[in-house]
């Protein structure tokens, strides 16, 4: 088990190296230069050249890449081009917020999605099922910035229950987490419904019912555990998507997370900050994938034996 984890984490290193290279290459290829953007419209060419030289941006791509990787190995993520502030500090300001938002959204979409999906599967074509299917279509189709603003208007303006935005108390987390969770919740519900429906048709479920096992136990213990694999895969993918897609929610709710930080870095061509942020995301993906794989092992002994 431990060797499995260790091997997976070691495999993550080439992944991260590749990610850094792709980001650096992309920034290099798109037009626009960090220094001129930073100094603004009124900068003289001498000022631009001086600053570019000072920041070492004159050096060729491979030289900068090797230098960057070397520094990262020593734990130094560099200084952001815009603010000359350690990237570690900038990321430390932002990533707990993203973690909080993504985790809350994942919990909401998993809990409510699985619950709704199971109920729909156990009572297919009921009124609840129809409503749930309509609701999930709505959740999948409506853009985040629309649902977000509507929720703000309803729950912050008309009914003064929630704050308008920002971060702080648990109350601040409710609306953004719900907004971010909606599309994900919809997908989890649909996936759970179809997965559980499939399993409920299996022979071993019929056997369990024939044995006289209570319906509740049939669903919870036998059906759900077997239906869990595809749901788990989806949740793993959703976790990644929630992290990356949080930027729109963060903008609407003024949530100070990594998504907004990354967009700001892209517009300013601040590749040092951008790489730091992408590294965190890449690392998070690696950890999530590892967790999902381990969970497969826990859920299905056949997979664990294959290792």
């Amino acid at each position: 088990m431990l060797t499995f984890i260790a091997r997976r984490l070691l495999l993550a290193i080439p992944v991260l190296l590749g990610v850094v290279f792709v980001v650096m290459l992309t920034i290099e290829l798109i037009p626009g230069d960090a220094v001129s953007l930073m100094l603004g419209e009124h900068a003289t060419p001498e000022a631009v050249a001086k600053l570019r030289d000072y920041l070492g941006l004159d050096k060729p791509l491979l030289v900068r890449y090797v230098g960057y990787v070397g520094r990262v190995a020593r734990g130094d993520l560099g200084r952001s081009i815009q603010q000359n502030r350690p990237v570690v500090d900038e990321l430390a300001d932002a990533w707990p917020a993203t973690l909080e938002l993504t985790a809350a959204a994942l919990v909401i979409s998993a809990a409510l999605g699985i619950a709704a999906g199971v109920i729909s599967a156990v009572w297919p074509n009921s009124a609840f099922d129809a409503l749930a299917r309509l609701g999930s279509l709505f959740g999948l189709s409506m853009p985040v910035f629309w649902t977000g603003l509507v929720l703000i208007v309803v729950f912050a303006l008309w009914l003064p229950w929630m704050p308008v935005g920002g971060m702080g108390s648990p109350a601040h987390l409710v609306l953004p987490a719900v907004t971010l969770a909606l599309p994900s919740l919809a997908m989890v519900a649909r996936m759970t419904r179809s997965s559980v429906l499939d399993v409920l048709r299996e022979d071993y479920v019929r056997t369990a019912r024939a044995k006289g096992v209570a319906e509740r136990l049939v669903v919870a213990k036998h059906a759900l555990r077997n239906a869990a694999i595809p749901i788990l895969t989806l949740l793993g993918l959703q976790a990644g998507q929630l992290m990356g897609g949080a930027v729109l929610t963060e903008t609407v709710f003024a949530w100070p997370g990594l998504g907004r930080l990354m967009v700001k870095a892209i517009f300013a061509r601040d590749y040092v900050l951008l790489q730091g942020a992408v590294l965190i995301f890449a690392l998070a993906f690696v950890v999530i994938n590892l967790a999902v794989d381990l969970a497969y092992g826990a859920l299905d002994p056949r997979i664990a034996r294959q290792g």
Partner: protein, 531 residues
């Protein structure tokens, strides 16, 4: 002895008289001290140090903490700030007498050495300050005695006083800079009416009153600048009371807010002109008749009314009215919206209608390429599209390419511009005509050196702007700039569309606030809350 009833009546009369007298006190006396002002705006600062940041998000905040030698009031008049008086010693040297007994927020005294330190750091630091590019010929400062400092320029520089009144030339505490190093940009120390408390990245910046300020102490206890990127969310925050002041409010809601007594809409004509620029070096736009025709083809009034909906005013020239040296170019008189006239001028220039309605000459279509960004300036995309449609009505075809601002900016700064038309905005940072007319219209200021994106070249204009730049006689300079604008009016290389309005919305309980024509000058020192 008075009967009881008339005693009561007299008492009531006295009480009524007193309330009338006290009720009509001037606002200054009824000013309430205390309270926290919450301001919402779209972006977080990059830095609170002018060394690293000259854009509005940082400037709005540090404007209240750092003070320059001079300042510009809302009427764009130069007033003393940290300098109590000044004297022009020579065309390249101005002597300033500093106010005595002024202290920085860290307790160290303001003196000539601090001024010299600030300018050396900005102009000769590694790297130099972001604002060094805005400082023109400013070369440094010399200490004469503790409270006297001489500011020098490399050559005679007419805009020197306005340059030293810019928001970004605030004097910093040398002790703090040396002690804090790079952390200074996150927690600056100046002499202003407010001092720094806290900055939570992408969330808020908090300032509090400076109790040792040299001037009138600010009525407010605290100011909180919050980041709310979404325009709709900013307006909702204003309505729920989460915010007292909104910077960059939603233009569509202004009309409704003006009718509501719970809010006050503060507006004033600002310093930015947004225009459709023409590449005067690229045929067919090198023909002044074609350029003139294009201006006649644009219905600027319709654009202002339907697209900008009152959030801007028509541009009256290439400069904003708040700029020193501004002359109203009478564009509506010289170039009224007149399709017939446009068509006539184009015909005069040899362009005849082709089979598809697009004009042509010698087998060539009158087809113009246009580079623009969306969202860099209010409604820039919509205005470009509107003008494109208006051109079509007179037989001119315009092909617009919309790209992201950073990309567009790179192309504008390149040595060659391959497009005929471009959409751009320009703000005169030091509110002096030299800043704009020199960089925009001098023949040697073609990118990447300057901002003459139109590639305009007129030797008389060159001579005039050079002379005006070197003169310290402000009356003479005004005359020279007037002539420049007269010449430009005859050879237009821009289609000026609108002049921004600086608009700030506050709750009615916010008093003592006046919006300034320069967007960076957010004056909070006289603001008080009537709560």
């Amino acid at each position: 002895m008075m009967p009881a009833r008339s005693a009561l009546l007299s008492a009531l009369a006295v009480a009524w008289a007193m309330s009338v007298c006290l009720g009509s006190v001037s606002p200054a006396e009824a000013q309430k001290k205390g309270g926290t002002l919450t301001i919402v705006r779209p972006t977080d600062p990059v830095s609170l140090d002018p060394q690293l940041e000259t854009t509005a998000p940082g400037a709005w905040v540090y404007f209240n903490m750092l003070e320059p030698l001079l300042t510009m009031d809302e009427k764009m008049q130069i007033r003393p700030a940290l300098a109590a008086s000044y004297e022009i010693l020579s065309p390249t040297k101005v002597r300033f007498k500093l106010r005595p007994n002024v202290k920085f927020h860290d307790g160290t005294p303001l003196n000539a050495a601090a001024v010299k330190f600030t300018f050396d750091r900005a102009l000769r630091g590694t790297p130099p300050a972001r604002w060094a590019s805005l400082a023109g010929s400013l070369s440094g400062a010399e200490v004469v005695d503790d409270l006297t400092v001489d500011v020098m320029t490399r050559e005679p520089y007419g805009p020197i006083l306005r340059t030293l009144a810019m928001y970004c030339t605030g004097i910093v505490s040398p002790t703090a800079v040396q002690k804090m190093g790079p952390d200074f940009s996150r927690a600056p120390v100046g002499t202003g009416p407010f001092k720094f408390v806290e900055w939570k990245t992408n969330t808020h910046v908090i300032l509090e009153r400076n109790p040792d300020y040299w001037g009138d102490k600010a009525p407010l206890d605290r100011v909180i600048f919050k980041v709310v990127p979404e325009e709709g969310a900013r307006m909702i925050a204003l309505q729920t009371g989460d915010a007292d002041m909104v910077l960059l409010p939603a233009p569509a809601q202004l009309a409704a807010l003006k009718r509501d007594s719970k809010y006050v809409v503060h507006e004033v004509v600002g310093g930015r002109v947004v225009f459709a620029g023409m590449h005067a070096g690229l045929a067919p736009l090198d023909d002044v008749r074609v350029r003139t025709a294009l201006i006649h083809a644009v219905d600027r009034k319709a654009i202002l009314e339907n697209i900008l909906e009152g959030s801007a005013v028509p541009a009256r020239g290439v400069l904003a009215p708040s700029v020193f040296g501004f002359k109203d170019m009478q564009l509506d008189k010289l170039y009224p919206f007149d399709r017939a006239r446009a068509k006539a001028l184009l015909a005069q220039a040899g362009w005849t209608p082709g089979p598809d309605g697009v004009l042509q000459k010698g087998g060539q279509k009158l087809s113009l390429s246009w580079l623009a960004a969306r969202g860099r300036y209010p409604k820039d995309g919509e205005i470009t599209e509107a003008i494109q449609a208006m051109f079509k009505e007179v037989g001119v075809e315009a092909k617009v390419q919309f790209l992201e601002w950073a990309t567009v900016f790179t192309q504008f700064r390149a040595a060659t511009l391959n497009q005929h038309m471009f959409t751009l905005g320009w703000v005169t940072s030091n509110a002096d005509a030299d800043y704009s007319l020199y960089a925009l219209f001098h023949s040697k200021q073609v990118p990447p050196t300057g901002w003459n994106t139109s590639r305009y070249a007129n030797p008389r204009v060159d001579a005039l702007v050079e002379q005006a730049r070197r003169s310290l006689n402000q009356t003479e300079r005004e005359k020279l700039y007037a002539e420049v604008q007269d010449i430009l009016a005859k050879e237009m290389v821009w289609i000026p569309v609108y002049n921004t309005k600086e608009i700030v919305v506050t709750r009615a309980s916010v008093k003592g606030f006046t919006v300034h024509p320069v967007e960076y000058n957010l004056w909070l020192r006289k603001v008080w809350l009537d709560k």
